[in-house]
Amino acid sequence: MSHINVKVAAIEQVTDLIKHFTFVREDGQPFPVFSGGSHVVVSMNINGRIQRNAYSLMGNPEETEAYHISVRRQEKSRGGSVHMHDALKVGDSLQITFPVNLFALEKRARKHLLIAGGIGITPFMSQIADLERNKANYELHYAYRAPEHGAFSKEIKANIGNKLITYVESEGGVLNLRNLLSKQPLGTHVYVCGPGPMVVAMIETARTLGWPENHIHSEQFTAPPSGESFKIKLTKSALEIVVPPEMSMLEAMEAAGVDAPYLCRGGACGRCELEVVCTDGNLLHHDHYLSEAEKAAGKKIMPCVSRAKCDLLEVVL
């Protein structure tokens, strides 16, 4: 997979927990333009271990001099967000992938309803730029815990005015999904990005009110959960690799030098899907890609986030 070598041009502390990073290309060339909602995967070298995390691009998609991401310091970090916050300095070099969009706006929508929770605001920052340029009909509903967590709230307000509606939990603000979703004009598409429970609640509410599936869009990057150690056997390359408790299958394969396919690394896109030959235990699926039936059938696994409780798992690679 081809990468872009970038340098950190600026770091801004946006809130106590959120930092905004500006990247420029090392070769001085312009970045490719992208579409609102795209993300890149950032590779970082943490004491010799390569960690790759996906982050939404939040700048204007037409601006090619720099890319912008924001990172929330995760309490249960596996190292990525803490590394970005504590170790990364202006002038440091990183590798990023070309932008990929798994959270694209539906251009035929009559209205776009954007719903953000906390750091889930980032993909909407680039989408707003697209929507403003296309003079689209939209609203952004942005919920966060307390005023000090409302990253970019002021900046967005200045750009889009009363199309931004905020809900601040500490001030008693409540986003009532049922009220909001039950009064939207025919042809509306809804997009949600935020904490897991919020995403699930939005999807379930929309379904209950009769929204068709193709009008419901969500993005959630899951960090690979840790678990027990197990061994994987790759049938084509005849390799046996131990997956340690704190590493994902994908990371363990990469550490062993295997060029395994991936895109989002968050269980969303399905690119890294592997065929399961057999296992002496159970698969622990953590992705948002496979259907419940596929998960139950146990013939496929997403190694970026899923693992197994077993001694040996055999996959085709």
């Binding site: 979703l181 039950s182 025919l186 509306t188 009110l209 009769g210 068709p212």
Partner: protein, 200 residues
């Protein structure tokens, strides 16, 4: 017809069933068979949400208006012309909300006329429940002169635009609401296969 032959673009229709998860329901039916399809729908249950029924009656056919008046609780609109029924649909949509479930029973022309109208309101045809009733007549798009000929009952149909004898394919355009028609004797002028009624 060749056994096992199937073309992906050919629509497959099924019987109407209420969607339990909904904000409101809009039922559009055409002719005698469509009226009966609406009655069948109300036999299943009476949904919680508000229901509008637009019924386009058919001259000379059985009229289910009286029966529908007894079962449709909120809003039954009956029309004796296609244009009036489509105008009623247009009038219903600007105020409609997400969660409106749309059900159509009638000829293919009826359902795809509706699909083209609701597309302007951001509704994909895949989200419309469709039941084919009354006739299998096809609308045929002439790939030569681009005219659309409605009500084709035969495997070969004369184009209403250029007069060419068109072989009616299964290849269907959702955008046009019509099957592709190709000049059947383009290779051997005058060699027209037997014309048979296969879309009664």
């Amino acid at each position: 017809m060749e056994r096992g032959y199937w073309i992906r673009s050919k629509p497959v229709y099924s019987a109407l069933v209420w969607q339990q998860q909904a904000n409101a329901h809009l039922v559009l039916v055409e002719g005698s068979a469509g009226g009966l399809a609406a009655m069948k729908l109300f036999q299943q249950m009476l949904p919680q949400q508000s229901i509008t029924v637009i019924y386009e009656t058919e001259a000379g056919g059985a009229d289910y208006t009286a029966a529908l008046k007894k079962v449709v609780p909120d809003d039954l609109q009956v029309f004796n012309s296609h244009d009036a029924a489509m105008k009623a649909l247009e009038a219903h949509l600007p105020e409609a909300l997400m969660g409106l479930r749309i059900y159509v029973a009638g000829s293919e022309k009826f359902m795809w006329d509706i699909a083209q109208i609701v597309l302007h309101y951001g509704v994909d045809d895949a989200d419309i429940a469709k039941e084919l009733t009354g006739t299998l007549a096809r609308s045929v798009y002439c790939v030569h002169c681009k005219a659309i000929t409605h009500n084709a009952h035969t495997n070969i149909q004369a184009c209403s635009g250029c007069g060419k004898k068109l072989f009616v394919r299964d290849h269907f355009s959702r955008r046009l609401g019509a099957y592709m028609g190709l000049m059947v004797d383009a290779e051997d002028p005058g060699q027209i296969p037997e014309i048979e009624e296969i879309y009664p």
